[in-house]
Every structure is written in structure tokens, then in C-alpha cells.
Amino acid sequence: MSVIVTDTGFGPDVFVENGGQFVSASDLALTSATRLGVDLFNDADPGALVDHFERIALIRIPFPSFADGRGFSLARQLRSLGYTGRLRASGHLISDQYKHARKVGFDEVEIDFDLATRQPEPQWLRAAAPGYLEKFRSSRKAA
């Protein structure tokens, strides 16, 4: 059972509870379904999703390990390609990374129950000071 971390704290996986299903990015062309969830693996090309953005409700990027930061760049790239749907990081992220995930364009982080127990809600919601980057970036992006 997963826990979804957002700015309001821990919650259930509403997407899955409402019957949402995930396909891998490479299988996207095989279906015409809408309101899709897409798993974008770390070695996939986000550019291949651009033509499908309108029928994607949620993109999930798995982190193989918290020390593997490719997901941060993939999220950033999806946002700069114009993706405005929900964006989720999943796998082994730690609470100190939540603020960074939010700043590169993720809306939420999916963690397992064990990690949620070891790193309870307040650790994820520790207020983040504004970063330097905001001084150099325009505000046109959700990031």
C-alpha cells in the first residue's frame, strides 16, 4: 500500500482508488484510452510523450534510488515541454528531497508504508526556505 505525499501531508492514492491505470511510456501508442497514468522510466525520452499530453492525467517517474537524480531532470524537462498534468515521483525518495521534487515540477511523491513510518509526515512538510534559483527564473512555469 502506497502513501502519497503532497503539500497537505500524507494521503491515499486517489488516482488508483478511482480506477486509474498505469501504462509504460513505450506502450502508450498501443492504446487510445484517455485519463491515463504513464510510467516514465529513467532512460526514456520525455519528448516522445509530447503528442500524448492531452490524454495523460498523471506521469509517474520511478526513482531507482534516492541518490539517482535523473528523475529531477526528467520532471524539469516534462514541464519545459509544456506538460501541465499531475507529475509524481515514486520509489525511494527521502523527506529532505520533497522540497527539491516540488521545485523541479513534481506535484507529489509516492512512498511505501515502511518509509512513511520511518519518516513521518512532519519530516516531509518541514517548511522550505526560498531558494536562490527563484531569483533567476521567470514564473511562467509551474516549477
Binding site: 534516492f66 539517482d68 537524480g69
Partner: protein, 553 residues
């Protein structure tokens, strides 16, 4: 000097609080040791051979007397009364306790300093020319650029978990004193055809076990595009740099395996995509940064006495360089006393340096990547007084650029990675060449020593490079010749089999004797001679007629 804004001050304080909280969460089990480690590293804290080590950033090598005094205080209170200046414009304290480190970080924040991103797989402390703002050959002061990069790269949310560490250097002069070509990114300030300032962007340099000289990825980058272009390079590297093998994870390997042209295409594509995310930096911010590096109010109309004292004259010849103003000079204070540890300074010496800077040098100090301290602006009338004060503090060694001005990593005396000792080799070489007249006759000669293949002592770019290895439990030292870290950068070539601990210093002496024999005259430096005559006479000097000539050690 760059003075912290309220934003900077709030940021570093928040960072100390966050680290204190991480330490507490490590202790209560919320963070595993694996999860804690990158946070500890990104706050400068290493676990070394004997103890923790705290590496403090001296951004682009610039500090003032107040900051130097605080480093002395930290050395006295939480260490053993000394600090070690490194080849990347940092200072390391070798004996702190974990529980004391948040307090040490607070003490740094008190004087607008920090240890942020001095380690870990992130963008490290940005380094620059130690003569910035004073050198006669400067196109433009590189420090405002370095400060801008410091701000942009600090806690950058996308680039904290890179494949490997990432080092950026900026030089503002055609004579590259920042070793830009040995960095992941090197920036050289240049002007285009119509005189507009910008950068030549070099990518993929680095030393370590696969040394490479950086190559040009963009011949001219307009100033305003700097941050989005850097971000594009890092973005491509973060996604495509190898993560399967830490020894192949630096951007130099990506550049090598992908090819510089293909890498350039990918960087330019990313640049086009993200450029619009950036506003031009706020003009007020830029003006404030520029203004904080304004030249001091130089004293004029002072009589400059001629120098008669031979000791003083000898020191002026080696340790004093021309300033862009004729009545001022740039003074390099050698941290390489004969038989001493390269880069070490005691807390008393740090306080003396602070006092001298405040009294004679417009309160400015620099740390050079050659592990010396620089007083960038000294009126020539004050040189005798500066020399006398340095002498009092035991900081008057007249050997800058000479054979005893050696760069050495901490080696097996401190470092957990080292495979051989470095510091004692440096000490013995400098003792062997103690005679200053002999040193001056030899002239410019850069010896660099690393105690393992990670090359923190930059041996690949030493005129004479020494690499200490462990061969079946025995320290063995390999020699390379002809390395160069400047604008004419080159990786040194291996001479042949290595030497034992007992053999290495005599081997270096034989190399120097061979040079003295074959040089055209005393104006031809060791490096120039090597480039003219090649390896043969040096190999002969090292190995004579022994059978092993040319055999790899």
C-alpha cells in the same frame, strides 16, 4: 568583498538548522547511514582515516581579515590549532567531532561563510584566479561571474544527485591561473568581434584516474546566457552521465564516449528549450554583485624606497608580482616552508595574516589553488613592513613558483582513500633543495604530488608529477613529466617504472640535474626544456642503462 544580503544570511542559517535536524534524525533512526551520508557530504563533512574532516568553502578564494580570524578561532576551539588550505580554494579542519559540526557551521555563518556543497555529487565550490581584480593581464574580474554561479548552483533542486561531483572554474585573464582546462566546466572571459564580453565555455576536463583536458563546447557565449547554458550542460550530464561505474561517471567520460560534437548538439537543444525559463538576472542584483568587487581606494603619492636588504630582495623577486597599478604589487605568502606540510597554517599564522591584510592590504586575502595565500593589493612602499611581519610569523619563505613550492594532497597521513604518503615526500624534496640559490638557479618548476589515483595533488599537470601507489603493500611512486595546468594545458607523460619511498627524492634530484645539463640557458624553464628535448635525457637520468627502461611499473 561580497557582503551577504539578508537572503544569503537567512539561507545559510536555515541550512545549519536543517543540518542539525538531519544529525538528530540520523541519531533517532529516521535516516539510515546511507541516507544521511549525502547530506553530511553536501555540508562539507567527510569521514576520514582517523576522524571526521570539515571542508569549508572559500568562494573563489576571497576572504577578509575578520573571516581569517574566525577560521583561526575554529581551528583553536574545535580542531588542533591549525587548518589545511586545499587545491580548490577550501580550508579543511582534520579533527572535528560530529556533535560539534553544527556549532562550527554556525560560527562560519557568523562571518558569512559556509561549507555548503564542498563535497557530494553536486556542483562544488566555484574556483577562480587568485589574482582576480589585481592582475595586469585581466580582461575582466571573474569574481562577479563566480558569485553568480555560486548563487545559482547553491541547493539547485535539479542538480544535487548528479552521477558524480562537478567542478567549475572561471578565469578572467588570458594567462589561466585557475586551471580552467582541468575542470568539468572551465569558463574563460573573452570579448567578441565588437568587444561585447562573454565566455569561452570548456567542458570535460579533469584529472583523477582518466586525466583529460577540457574542450571548447561554445567559443563565445554572451554573458546574459550564462546561467541557462550552464543549466543545459548540467541537465544533459545529469540524464546521460554514466551511473554504472563511479570511475566513469564524470562529464569528461560522457564527452569522450559521446564525442564533443554530439554532446554540443544535445546541450544546444536543451539550452533552446530552457532558455525562456530564465529572466535576465535582476539588474539591481547584478549591479550589487559587481559593486561588491570594486577595487579598493588605492593609496597614491607615497614614496617607494629602493630595496637594499638581500633577504627582502630575494623574497620580492620570487613572491611579489606586478599589480595592474605600478605603485602596488601582488604578494604571495608561501605556505611551503622548507620541510613543512604544504598548505598548512597554524591559528597564530592565520591571525598574523589577518592583521597584515587589515594593516597593509586593504583587508583582502586570497587562497590560491597552489595552496598559498595571496595579498592581492599591497602598496610597494609597504613591502618591507609586510615582509617583516611575515617573517615574525614564520611565513616569509621565498620560494613561490620554485622547486620547493610543492602541491601535495594530504595522502596517507590523513586521507581514507590514499595508497601512499604525499606530505613526507614533499617535505623531503623541499629539504633536499633547501639552498635558495640552487632553487633560484633551477627557476620555475612545479612539482605536484598525489597519494592515490584520484589525483587531488594534480600530479598530471605538474611539470614533475608524482603519484603514490600501493604495489603489494609497498609504497611506489610513479613520475610524469611535462604536465601543465595553464592555458597551454597538457597531461604529463609517464617516465617508466616507479620508485620506492627511499628512491623517489634522489630520482627527482637526478631529473633536476638532467634539466640543468641540457637547458639552453637559465631563461629556459624546465617545462620549455622538456618540450624541446623530450623524454630521453630525463629517462636516461632516471634509469641509466638499467634493463627496465620503458617498462611500465
Amino acid at each position: 568583498m561580497y557582503a551577504y544580503t539578508d537572503f544569503d544570511q537567512a539561507f545559510v542559517r536555515e541550512r545549519v538548522d536543517a543540518f542539525r535536524d538531519q544529525v538528530a534524525r540520523r541519531i533517532n533512526g529516521s535516516l539510515t547511514e546511507d541516507e544521511f551520508k549525502p547530506h553530511r557530504l553536501m555540508n562539507g563533512l567527510y569521514l576520514q582515516l582517523h576522524a571526521y574532516m570539515l571542508r569549508v568553502a572559500i568562494p573563489y578564494g576571497t576572504l577578509d581579515g575578520r573571516q581569517m580570524r574566525q577560521l583561526a578561532m575554529i581551528a583553536d576551539r574545535w580542531d588542533k590549532g591549525y587548518g589545511h588550505f586545499t587545491t580548490r580554494q577550501n580550508i579543511q579542519f582534520n579533527w572535528p567531532k560530529l556533535a560539534d559540526t553544527p556549532a562550527m557551521l554556525d560560527a562560519l555563518a557568523d562571518v558569512e561563510m559556509h561549507a555548503i556543497q564542498t563535497s557530494g555529487n553536486c556542483i562544488r565550490n566555484v574556483t577562480s584566479d587568485h589574482f582576480a581584480g589585481a592582475a595586469a593581464d585581466e580582461i575582466e574580474d571573474p569574481r562577479p561571474t563566480a558569485e553568480l554561479i555560486r548563487q545559482w548552483s547553491t541547493d539547485h533542486p535539479e542538480f544535487l544527485y548528479l552521477p558524480r561531483k562537478f567542478k567549475i572554474a572561471v578565469t578572467g585573464s588570458p594567462n589561466d591561473r585557475a586551471a580552467a582546462k582541468a575542470h568539468d566546466i572551465g569558463l574563460r572571459m573573452v570579448r567578441d568581434d565588437i568587444g561585447a564580453p562573454g565566455y569561452e565555455v570548456l567542458v570535460g576536463g579533469g584529472l583523477g584516474r582518466t586525466p583529460m583536458i577540457a574542450r571548447v563546447v561554445r567559443a563565445f557565449l554572451p554573458k546574459a546566457d550564462l546561467l541557462p547554458y550552464l543549466e543545459a550542460i548540467l541537465h544533459v550530464y545529469n540524464l546521460e552521465g554514466r551511473r554504472d561505474n563511479k570511475y566513469k561517471a564524470r562529464i569528461k567520460i560522457l564527452a569522450h564516449e559521446t564525442g564533443i560534437d554530439e554532446l554540443r548538439t544535445r546541450i544546444e537543444a536543451a539550452f533552446e528549450r530552457i532558455r525562456g525559463d530564465f529572466t535576465a538576472p535582476d539588474p539591481a542584483t547584478v549591479a550589487r554583485i559587481q559593486g561588491s568587487f570594486a577595487a579598493p581606494d588605492f593609496a597614491t603619492d607615497r614614496e617607494i624606497p629602493t630595496i637594499a636588504d638581500p633577504a627582502l630582495r630575494s623574497w620580492v623577486d620570487t613572491n611579489v608580482a606586478d599589480h595592474r597599478r605600478a605603485d602596488h604589487a601582488m604578494v604571495t605568502v608561501s605556505l611551503k616552508p622548507i620541510g613543512g606540510t604544504p598548505g598548512d597554517a597554524t591559528s597564530d599564522q592565520m591571525r598574523a595574516l589577518a592583521e597584515i591584510a587589515e594593516t597593509y592590504a586593504y583587508d583582502e586575502l586570497r587562497i590560491s589553488h597552489e595552496q598559498n595565500v595571496v595579498l592581492p593589493h599591497v602598496h610597494r612602499a609597504d613591502l618591507p613592513a609586510v615582509y617583516a611581519a611575515l617573517r615574525e610569523a614564520g611565513l616569509h619563505t621565498a620560494n613561490v613558483g620554485l622547486v620547493s613550492d610543492i602541491i601535495a594532497c594530504p595522502g596517507m597521513d590523513y586521507c581514507a582513500l590514499a595508497t601512499a604518503r604525499s606530505i613526507p615526500i614533499a617535505q623531503e624534496i623541499s629539504t633536499a633543495f633547501e639552498d635558495i640559490r640552487r632553487q633560484r638557479d633551477i627557476g620555475e618548476l612545479k612539482i605536484k604530488i598525489s597519494g592515490c589515483i584520484n589525483a587531488c595533488g594534480h600530479h598530471h599537470v605538474g611539470h614533475i608529477g608524482i603519484l603514490g601507489l600501493d604495489r603489494a603493500g609497498v609504497e611506489t611512486y610513479q613520475i610524469t613529466l611535462g604536465g601543465d595546468a595553464t592555458e597551454t594545458a597538457a597531461i604529463g607523460e609517464r617516465t617508466g617504472r616507479g620508485f620506492s619511498y627511499e628512491e623517489i627524492v634522489p630520482a627527482v634530484e637526478r631529473l633536476v640535474d638532467a634539466y640543468l645539463e641540457v637547458r639552453e640557458d637559465e631563461t629556459e624553464t624546465f617545462l620549455e626544456t622538456y618540450r624541446r628535448v623530450g623524454m630521453t635525457p630525463f629517462k636516461d637520468a632516471l634509469y641509466g642503462s638499467e634493463e627496465e627502461v620503458g617498462r611500465a611499473a
